[in-house]
């Protein structure tokens, strides 16, 4: 039996969830809708349905004339290299910090963690200066290295916590069998840490894919820029080519949303553990 009050409460609950679902998705639907409209249509046709729904001219223009083929390639390249390096360096470091007898490991771990707790919003300025002092401004490597460095603390935190919670029995058995510490890392710890590594891969791929600020200060040549900067090509001081801007935005957003829906459990875990870090 349900009282009137409970029914009312249920109604409100459903309604609010549905309303926010619409609010969450609508701007994205509008983005896709605009990307399929023609230039002379975007200001006059306010329905979601384009006059010609199979008009993919904007995508062609964004991809070839707007050079989104180049920007997408760059972003994929940066994401892959950064993530592979972060997984490698962070897992090596956190294994040693969690498990090995190592000089100064407390100080080293505290050092990594300290930067998580002290926010320096203007750090991109001095990163730019360090990178240009090394002669690496406007190079791929000069963009990749700071991104790896920035990703390390959270990743080390996640992995170290994971290793701390692991039982030592398997390792002890391996040590008795004469395994070296590197063999234990490579054959035992890495495979077991797969869930934590998945979190790190997702967290860091997303943050590199969405990175803008550092790219803005480091790159002056279009051929090196990642997608987030590529968007500004369509934004002029007086007029903005919204149909191309929305097509390009769709190109960058679509893979993220698809991967997210396919792996939403790991995604949400990754982002929340990234947020809770401190």
């Amino acid at each position: 039996m349900q009282s009137k009050g409970t029914l009312f409460f249920k109604g409100i609950t459903h309604l609010s969830l549905i309303v926010w679902t619409v609010i969450s998705i609508f701007p994205l639907v509008w983005m896709v809708s605009t990307s399929l409209k023609q230039r002379n249509e975007i200001f006059t046709n306010r329905s979601l349905i384009p006059n010609n729904a199979f008009n993919i001219e904007n995508y062609k223009d964004a991809w070839f004339q707007g050079n989104f083929n180049v920007y997408t390639f760059n972003s994929v390249l940066y994401s892959v290299i950064v993530v592979v390096c972060v997984v490698l360096f962070a897992s090596l470091a956190s294994y040693a910090i969690a498990r090995l007898d190592m000089a100064g490991k407390k100080v080293i771990y505290l050092g990594f963690m300290a930067t998580l707790m002290i926010p320096i919003p203007g750090a991109f300025i001095s990163i730019y200066l360090v990178v240009s002092n090394l002669g690496l401004a406007n190079t791929r490597i000069g963009y990749i290295l700071p991104l790896i460095a920035a990703a390390l603390p959270v990743s080390i935190f996640i992995l170290k916590t994971f290793f701390d919670e692991m039982s030592r029995e398997l390792e002890e058995a391996a040590i008795i069998d004469g395994a070296t510490s590197f063999q234990i890392y490579y054959r035992l710890m890495l495979p077991i840490a797969r869930p934590a590594l998945a979190t790190i891969v997702i967290l860091n791929t997303l943050s590199v894919w969405n990175e803008f600020m550092l790219a803005l200060v480091l790159f002056s040549e279009n051929r090196l820029m990642p997608i987030q900067m590529g968007l500004s090509v369509f934004v002029g001081q007086y007029t903005t080519q919204y149909e191309l801007l929305m097509a390009a935005s769709t190109i960058m957003v679509l893979p993220v949303v698809l991967v997210y829906i396919a792996m939403q459990k790991q995604f949400i875990q990754g982002i929340t553990s990234g947020a809770i870090k401190g």
């Binding site: 701007p27 090596l92 100064g104 990163i127 460095a149 997303l206 803008f212 987030q228 829906i261 929340t272």
Partner: protein, 305 residues
């Protein structure tokens, strides 16, 4: 096997020595991470401090130390404090509106409702987008001849049409709406995680005792969420004060300086004005402010416990 594994007493000093050597050899594991971290995370922090006392213009290596001059100029710079004020407005709006919406939605999605998982997935879509894309999408919605004004005209509310991003009285709030739209999902997920950690029998006991839904919300749910609340508040404040991408995409700080925020000012001071000394002074002042703010939040929440 080496001597250290032999159970003889004579072997011990050798074992110790090889152990000590190993302690240092093991540093090889952290070296790649540590070197990158020192070079691109720690060194920039020291550089920020160092350059904040100079008149470095980003190019000329013959800069001079100017003492606290940059800091004196920074703390008397009204345009800077207006930018900080804009950040504070973003933070307050987010704390009030964004987090309230997020809290209510998380309570709703947690209430054993059909499709709860679906909502969780959908609400988290905006947070995985980049601030730049979100900024451009909303800029397009706010265009003078764009969707928002068009719909207002369609439903006969012509008098409410507006140059949303181009006029001083609405630009800041228009940007805030876009960043809050994106941010609700993040707070929602954290609140939801907190709610799921509350034991169910608390509610059962309360409803047996005749507590209404709103009483349960007030006396069980909200007190149990205090820790999560602190975390969400800190993240919200840091996020709102540090906003850059939305503003860059939508207004570039305009009209005038109506939507200028600290990160944008720091960026322009360095790359438009070529004053890296000032930029770093602002950056350090701002970093300290944020750090103190999160400490205060943490302290306040511990006091209540």
């Amino acid at each position: 096997m080496d001597a250290s594994s032999l159970p003889s007493t004579k072997g011990k000093p050798i074992g110790n020595r090889s152990k000590i050597v190993k302690r240092y050899l093991n540093l090889a594991y952290v070296m790649p991470a540590l070197l990158l971290f020192i070079l691109f995370s720690l060194l920039p922090i020291f550089r920020t401090v160092q350059y904040s006392f100079t008149n470095f213009n980003g190019v000329n290596p013959n800069y001079q130390f100017v003492g606290f001059k940059n800091y004196a100029m920074a703390i008397t710079d009204t345009r800077w404090w207006e930018a900080v004020g804009n950040g504070v407005i973003f933070a307050l709006l987010s704390l009030v509106f964004m987090n309230t919406i997020a809290l209510l939605l998380s309570v709703a999605a947690n209430s054993n409702i059909r499709g709860g998982k679906f909502y969780r997935v959908v609400f988290y879509i905006p947070p995985i987008l980049s601030g730049i894309v979100v900024g451009y999408i909303w800029k397009w919605i706010y265009e003078p001849k764009g969707l928002l004004n068009g719909v207002l005209r369609d439903i006969g509310l012509d008098q409410f049409t507006h140059v949303w991003l181009g006029s001083i009285d609405t630009a800041l709030y228009a940007v805030a709406v876009s960043s809050m739209w994106q941010g609700v999902g993040g707070s929602f997920i954290l609140f939801l995680a907190g709610l799921q950690g509350i034991p169910k029998d608390l509610y059962e006991a309360a409803s047996i005792d005749g507590a209404s839904r709103s009483q349960q919300l007030r006396y069980i749910t909200i007190p149990s969420l205090r820790k999560v609340y602190t975390l969400v508040n800190i993240l919200t404040i840091l996020g709102a004060l540090g906003i850059f991408n939305h503003v860059y995409a939508m207004t570039m700080g305009g009209p005038g300086y109506a939507t200028e925020v600290p990160a944008l000012r720091i960026y322009r001071e360095a790359f438009t004005n070529s004053d890296f000394g000032m930029a770093n002074a602002f950056s350090l002042i701002f970093g300290i402010m944020l750090f103190v703010l999160s400490l205060i939040q943490l302290k306040l929440s511990q006091k209540k416990d």
